[in-house]
Amino acid sequence: MYTLTNVKAYYDSPRGPIKAVDDVSLEIRPNEILGIAGESGCGKSTLIKVIYGHINPPLRLVSGEIRAEMKDNGQVSVLSAKDLPKVWWEFISYVPQASMSVLNPVMRIENQFFDAVSRFHRAGNREQIRQQVADYLQELDLPVEVLKAYPHQLSGGMRQRVLVALATFLHPQIILADEPTTALDVVVQRGILRMLTRVQQTMGNTLIIVSHDMGVHYQITHRMAIMYAGQLVEVGPTERIFSAAQHPYTEMLIKSLPRIGDHSAREGISGRPPSLLDPPPGCPFAPRCPHAMDICTQARPPLVQIEDDHLSACFLHEEAMAAAHAQKVGAQS
């Protein structure tokens, strides 16, 4: 229902384009929790911006196609990147990082709700909307009193819950959450993640969550996309990513994570990610990869299917690479 095909989105900078999203193809499905994982600076937040259609200079959509199918009263309309801002809140909504103060500090929460949704809301006047908001908060087990509060009167965890409520009030088909629990305590984090997963379950829509914490992905996501240096290196069911990672980067990353109750030695990955200004011509992970071959520094490996629903971009998958190549040649002739 939402697909990205060969999308490139770069930031213009005086030193040249920063290739934060570099040839990403991804299918976003209804009724799933999709996790986007990767280290800081790998482009995962930019990918979320692109999916949200929030593409403002210096960020620029260089090439590729974005195609979203919006269901509206039984009708399906097809949207491209530039149409998305018009359907924020009702089709696609965004929960920002907890550390960001996106709420207006001098406005009561109820007025922020009103400001955000009244534009799209077809049913009724201010009082009716206020009542619906109150009902919705109750549904989410939030105290209705928060509506009368100013943001600074709420704890960090409660502010983030309000943002989740705000983002999901109009039942969007896609909810994007960019590190929604960073900077919050783990106890509060667990509560907010549970709130997000419950909303997703109730509405049956799509939740896309960006996190650098692999534990968060393990706990709540159904499918994961692993990003490295602006590219997707692996996409697959969460359970398979953790039990049978295909890409060397994912495999090494997961092996490096310490686990409580297990004292076995863990190794980090030596080296560092490449600069997004000047990424290597081949596989972005090749300089750090213990399996790197000649071809890895020359050509970029495409994402190919390894097993059901599990894609990886690595030249080690010789058979899958050959099959994908044959298919491509076949399609061309």
Binding site: Y218, S256, P258, I260, I269
Partner: protein, 338 residues
């Protein structure tokens, strides 16, 4: 002659005033904390807590960057803040060295990083001249897996966060300290590089006989690296003991809640658990600060401050539950001792 204790905190308290001069309140960031790090075998003690638990305030006091409001800090058996035999700054810095959270803030972007290494070596008497200093520096860099030639003359922006954190560890090693206090040293480091830094602590503990105080909010690296763990909550040390014992069999209800809340890999959350996260003015209360969230709370917990109870070899918890909620009389509250 050196003391039997690398570090000892006795009844350590630090209050801050928050808010206005007249309307403000006193916040006890660190509230009567006692703990000891023994000499002999070097050890890694993790101080684990969430934001606002007082762990960074404790780190700053241990590093002599902040004076306590009450209680005493001893390093190598000597007073740090008061007394006639007080350690002077020079002695202190040869014995205790810091590692900070953000390596990019620890080095000025306008000076080559090796200039800091030379300063440390020459100021703290690790070397008499630049030539000697160079050797000392090269050996310290070697210990953290870096080559002097690759560091010389370079500026901070030429390194990754992980490399720069290694350099700050190398700098800390130069005076051959007995104790390194590391405040969230890997929280700014990428996941794929984090373990390299954490492993370095283990390696340095063994090879250079350094003890570490590792301050973190991350239970999984704390478990991985430490011999002892201290759990902080709202300024109180609520549980202390060997890391295996604490994390496999937590005794304080807060430790239990914390353990349950960590998004672990390989063990899914159940969906039924009650998650108390009311945020109240817990710093100010004189009874148990966790009482408002505790599933095992009884009246006594809201009336008295719980004692630090010995619950096993080298283990303590600040809780009424292990003593069957017996009211506190003249009970002797044992000072924490590892």
């Amino acid at each position: 002659m050196s003391s039997e204790k690398v570090m000892e905190l006795k009844g350590l308290t630090r209050a801050f005033r928050i808010g206005g001069l007249l309307t403000g309140t006193r916040l006890l960031a660190v509230d009567d904390v006692s703990l000891t790090l023994k000499a002999g075998e070097p050890a890694i003690l993790s101080i684990v807590g969430e934001s606002g638990s007082g762990k960074t305030t404790m780190a700053r006091i241990m590093l002599r960057l902040l004076e306590p409001s009450g209680g005493d800090v001893y390093i190598d058996g000597r007073h740090v803040f008061a007394g006639a035999d007080r350690m002077d700054s020079h002695e202190f810095r040869r014995f205790v060295q810091p590692i900070f959270q953000n390596p990019f803030e620890a080095f000025s972007s306008r000076k080559p990083v090796d200039s800091y290494l030379y300063e440390t070596a020459l100021n703290l008497g690790a070397a008499a001249n630049r030539k000697q200093a160079r050797e000392v520096i090269a050996s310290a860099l070697n210990s953290v897996g870096l080559d002097y030639g690759l560091v010389e003359g370079k500026y901070p922006n030429q390194f990754s966060g992980g490399e720069l954190q290694r350099i700050s560890i190398a700098r800390a090693l130069i005076p051959n300290p007995k104790l390194i206090v590391a405040d969230e040293p890997v929280s700014m480091i990428d996941a794929s590089l984090r373990m390299n830094i954490v492993n370095l602590f283990l390696q340095l503990k063994n090879e250079r006989q350094v003890s570490f105080v590792y301050i973190t909010h991350d239970l999984s690296t704390a478990y991985y690296v430490s011999d002892y763990i201290a759990i902080m909550y709202r300024g109180n040390l609520v549980e202390l003991g060997p890391s295996d014992a604490i994390l496999t069999d937590p005794q304080h209800p807060y430790t239990e809640l914390l353990m349950d809340s960590v998004p672990k890999i390989g063990e899914k959350w159940d969906d039924i658990a009650v998650l108390p996260d009311v945020e109240t003015k817990e710093y100010a209360v004189t009874h148990c600060k966790f009482a408002a969230r505790c599933p095992y709370v009884r009246d006594i917990c809201r009336q008295q401050r719980p004692p630090l109870v010995e619950i096993g070899p080298e283990r303590q918890a600040l809780c009424f539950r292990p003593i069957d909620y017996a009211p506190q009389t003249e009970r002797e509250v044992a000072a924490a001792g590892i």
